[in-house]
Amino acid sequence: MSKVRVLVGTKKGAFILTSDGSRKNWDVSGPHFAGWEMYHLKGSPAEPNRIYASQTSGWFGQVIQRSDDGGKTWEPPGTKPEELVGPDGMPKGQSNKFVYEGQVGTHKWYDGTQHPWEFKRIWHLEPSLTEPDTVYAGAEDAAIFKSVDGGKTWQELSGLRQAKGHLWQPGAGGMAVHTILLDPKNPNRIYIAISAAGAFRTDDGGKTWQPINKGLKSAYELPDPDSEVGHCVHRIALHPSRPDVLFMQKHWDVLRTDNAGEQWREVSGNLPTDFGFPIDVNAHEPETIYVVPIKSDSEHFPPDGKLRVYRSKTGGNDWEALTKGLPQKDCYVNVLRDALCVDSLEPCGVYFGTTGGQVYGSADNGDTWNPIVRDLPAVYSVEVQTLS
């Protein structure tokens, strides 16, 4: 019997929502890590009971949490007494050690001056498609780290910062690697996106990276129209059947590339506004994409107080509003970039969480929606595992 497990990271803890394939009745588990900022949770496609989570706090910094039983119990990797012990047999957790490799260097600051790289938190965890112990982490200040021992230790893939890192600049929310896409057909290819540096691609497993921002227009933010880096990319998404085709939600504009990022073109079309954060692709229809438009860069809420997901079945340009079951008045929540996802059941389920604490689900490609929970803390991220 099919099941879905929705992993929700919020400002004050994590929640796990489970249902059978009908996706009608839901069990709610949580809050896990009550009181802590849970930026992101994601399960391993290779071992679905293995889930990684990023717990952060301004007081004590970054904590990586890991579950090996589908989210029932958690511990930071490598803190069992028999693992990595220090003097007197005390556990020697290294799972929170994210140190930039080599000469740390500087990047542009908000005022255009140079500022040293400083680790703040992990925004996104991306488990390997094939190895449960391998996982990538997207960090603020922007960098990508990799663990091959289940999150116990981390190594920076420092080649990324060599791709003109000194010209990268933070967006309003910080300078972070917030999206990591693993190419299912090519284990050496990874795409990432950074606010506000742009999208990047590696073709050698992460040793070297190149900017892939040709075609992006950021006239208000970047005076040079041909800038290779410095674009504020909010999110990128792909369908596993066509990893050369990516869709992008930028700080203004929705775009697509059909050649692995060598060239992008705008597909905003008839969207009421093309500002927004998340974007994702239907699990069974590679040309069906979803965005959640918000009014502007200074007003992060839906236009006219109507919460509308927009869907294009043509890979962009022609969009329709999805509203059934979503509030159409007095609604001023936002959906953050990691808070929209799809399952792979038939029909495709679509889920998103809001800064107002709601998680909505659709079991029919977005035609109709229902709230799964309404009163969580502000939702930072939503991921879903399809379990058979």
Partner: protein
């Protein structure tokens, strides 16, 4: 502890004894005090003092504690 007993040497000893606390009081690598953590001893604030600042003899003798306190801030 060996003399001189300083802010830094106390933190080194704590992290040696409890390695899981590395990165939670001071950042990994830079060893900078994390911004929402404060250090106090004998009613004095040692948060902004350099790591080689000597601690009062009351702390060295064990009469007074060296306090590591999370700020009541941050929401």
């Amino acid at each position: 502890m060996a003399e001189p007993v300083t802010v830094g040497s106390v933190l080194d000893a704590i992290e040696e004894r409890y390695p899981v606390l590395r990165g939670t009081i001071r950042d990994h690598g830079t060893l900078k005090r994390r911004p929402f953590i404060r250090f106090f001893a004998c009613k004095e604030d040692f948060s902004l003092e350099p790591a080689d600042t000597k601690l009062p003899h009351e702390v060295v003798s064990g009469t007074e504690p060296f306090m590591i306190i999370g700020a009541i801030a941050g929401g």
